[in-house]
Point group: C2
């Protein structure tokens, strides 16, 4: 072979080796969701990309129906990271590495031209649930839970809650693998057996 | 130059010409949103990809708060196509070609471990709004509105509603360009001047 041909062969081999190495690294670690990062101390940084993720459904627990102070005030909008959703569509399972985000907004109004009810006001906080068997191997189900308040200022990082604060309730009441799939029709409709 | 070199030059020119031609075609026609197609008769086919779009917010108009029959029963989940959202983030305007989808779901429950309120049941219909100055040049604001009922069976295509049925209310009451941005905090938070 000429020198040029040899160079091409070597280049092809290098690309192949790099691709295999990258595949091995990606298979070993739980896949990361876009916009999800931790500090060196293991705190979660405020997620940045979740409004481009898959919306799975929402609910509203108005303060006025919960003695003036709902546990989660008031509108809940829930997202899942895109790759975990794609896996859920195939398997009906929440893969290791799944991230779910619940953004909370106040009730902004109770009547519009579309009728009487509840309409969204301003965002007030963000809740995050992450399943990671490496990072959270001591948490039940490997799920950890985080909260970011937006007021008076937006919190930029958060430590995981103690298991008793969030995990316990999800473990006891959520329909499948700590997730309240029962309240989110996109999840119910996307499960393989429902198609 | 050798024959091989000439072939390469010709190939490069062809690729360049094709790219320019494609850019001109794409600039002339309103961009299409993924999963949005029309029949030869101008009916809209049931959109297929909107659950991968950008969720902009939701509301709930329960039947029980609207004399037993809400105009839009009951949960509203609203999406915008991704490219139009990217443009909105830059310009604060709804570009020609914008598609918004509102998926409606029933109220499935009124109490969960998170509190009292309204929780999603099953999907029941889909509403679609499309701004297209070519296809809907005779509609006010170039916006046309479509509805797909899911029951008793899922409707597969829909003709646009008469302007008086939907367009008029949007024209009179929506905050900006026939869109009720006032009820959707993702849109409010994404406008350039709000960042």
């Amino acid at each position: 072979m000429s020198q040029t041909a040899w160079k091409r062969v070597i280049l092809c081999c290098l690309v192949l080796i790099s691709t295999i190495a990258l595949s091995i690294v990606m298979a070993a670690a739980p896949a990361t969701a876009p916009g999800i990062e931790f500090t060196a101390e293991g705190k979660l940084k405020l997620p940045t990309d979740y409004r481009h993720w898959i919306y799975v459904g929402g609910s509203v627990t108005p303060n006025e129906l919960n003695r003036g102070a709902a546990l989660f005030p008031e509108f809940h909008s829930v997202y899942i990271d895109p790759e975990s959703f794609a896996q859920y569509e195939k398997t009906g399972k929440y893969r290791d590495g799944t991230v779910m985000v619940k953004e909370l907004a106040s009730v902004g109004g109770k009547e519009e031209t579309s009728g009487k009810g509840y309409f969204m006001g301003d965002f007030n906080s963000l809740e995050v649930a992450i399943k990671d068997s490496n990072r959270f191997k001591n948490e039940p189900g490997s799920w950890a839970y985080f909260n970011f308040e937006y007021k008076p200022t937006v919190e930029k990082e958060a430590a995981p809650h103690a298991a008793v604060a969030c995990n316990k309730c999800h473990q006891d009441n959520a329909e499948e693998d700590f997730v309240f799939s029962q309240d989110y029709p996109v999840l119910r409709a996307s499960k393989p057996q429902s198609k």
